[in-house]
Symmetry: C2
Subunit: 239 residues, 2 copies
DNA sequence: GAGGTATAGTGGTCGAACCACCGTATCCCT
DNA sequence: AGGGATACGGTGGTTCGACCACTATACCTC
């Protein structure tokens, strides 16, 4: 059944060494990686091997290469999660969005609860800012949705769990691309803002149970709006 | 701020075409990808470009290459999630495990709840099997832990949400590597089995609230055992 | 028939060369 | 002296052709 593990794979060793350098702090996000030709010399391997290593690092989201400029370290460690979810969504087609919504329904209330215990002033400021933008953008779907996602992202940051943050970051990114627009249901933004304000208030007053309940109510409303917008597909015309 | 998106990147186009083939069903898991030299001819590019594409697909977890045999399609779409979590854990060091535990604490009770509504006989069989193995392995830490993880995995499968399943699958895989062993706390396995049986019963009788509560209680116990095992680090000696 | 041995095909690595692109320093013209 | 076109060096992207290590299979020998 099992096959002997081969330690070989030259480029993997290079990947590990570079990853180690990042972990040690020798390479920080934004730093430029040495040129491929130089790395090849350093590791005493061909440039091909180095390129494969860089390619792997790129796919992991640890590095970004710009032709003519160089390769730079990024902090997009959640890149891989985003891509995986993206793929799972593609193979899942329509049901995929339902699964994504279900996952949100599980995560977000607890995120709100965590946020209520750990929130700091900077997060509150970001949330208030996003809330304000939404208030001013009831006529601008794109801006409203953008701010909506920012709101949820700030909330996830307040929960202060990098793993969960990465997950929500990926989900938000997917929603941004899919451009869910339950938005145009009659009175949608108003109802959304009502719930947002309740969430914000609960977080501000460190009310754990209140935050959880408010988020649940919010998601419940979004789900119902989503259903009714499917019933009248005209509302989906807006890009 | 933004930079023009360059569509170029030859190998990315190849990646997309192959991904498309997989989505269309022309390539199914287990199938062998055409040889690199052949693909190069098909796409009318150099073998190098093909290799970079294959490398990218490999990093995404869509493909597995064996030297001397060929490259095969895999169904490990959650590979990327695993790697990302693995990386986030590495950069997070010690706290990482706490964050992981927190995420589990959020997900698993809801998974149990979902499972209670969707479970099928095959999942129940898998869970009973894992339960039985644990019962017979109170003296064998490795086997017990393995079965424990299987139990939680079967539960996640019963929840019938592929996104969540991928996540739990990744988390379980990480825990397997990290070899958490709260196991050796006095009476640990017995307490664990008590909770497992309660969870199993709740799922069997489709008791949503009961399943959620039982899982919460289980995780709570694990957390306490984990704390006390840190207090007496001797228990960590077992590999 | 059982054994080992050639063989052909696979992915992995190498090296050299060329391309397209970018930033900058330089030079020339005004 | 100032400002804009230009040349240059460096970077990643791509190509080619060759060789290596490995694997499975077919063949050949005993």
């Amino acid at each position: 059944m099992y096959r002997a593990v081969r330690a070989s794979r030259l480029y993997e060793q290079i990947v590990e060494q570079i990853e180690e350098s990042i972990l040690q702090g020798a390479l920080k996000p934004g730093d430029q990686l040495p040129a491929e030709r130089e790395l090849a010399q350093t590791f005493a391997v061909s440039r091909t091997a180095v390129r494969e290593a860089v390619k792997a690092l790129h796919e992991k989201g640890l590095v970004e290469a710009y032709s003519g400029r160089g390769t730079f370290i990024t902090n997009g460690a959640s890149q891989g999660i985003r891509q995986s979810l993206h793929w799972l969504l593609r193979v899942g087609h329509e049901e995929g969005l339902a699964y994504l919504a279900e996952m949100r329904a599980i995560l977000e209330p607890e995120i709100a609860a965590l946020a209520a215990t750990r929130v700091e002033e900077s997060h509150l400021a970001a949330m208030r800012e996003a809330f304000g933008v939404m208030d001013r953008s009831r006529q601008d779907p794109a801006a409203f949705i953008e701010a909506d996602l920012d709101f949820h992202l700030a909330l996830a940051e307040a929960a202060a769990n990098p793993l969960i943050l990465s997950l929500i970051d990926s989900i938000v990114d997917l929603l941004r691309q899919q451009r869910i627009r339950i938005f145009h249901v009659q009175g949608g933004p108003e109802r959304g803002q009502f719930h947002h304000s309740r969430i914000l208030e609960a977080i501000e007053s460190r009310n754990v149970e209140g935050a959880r309940a408010a988020m649940r109510a919010h998601l419940e409303q979004v789900r119902e709006d989503s259903r009714s917008s499917q019933a009248q597909p005209l509302a989906r015309k807006i890009s």
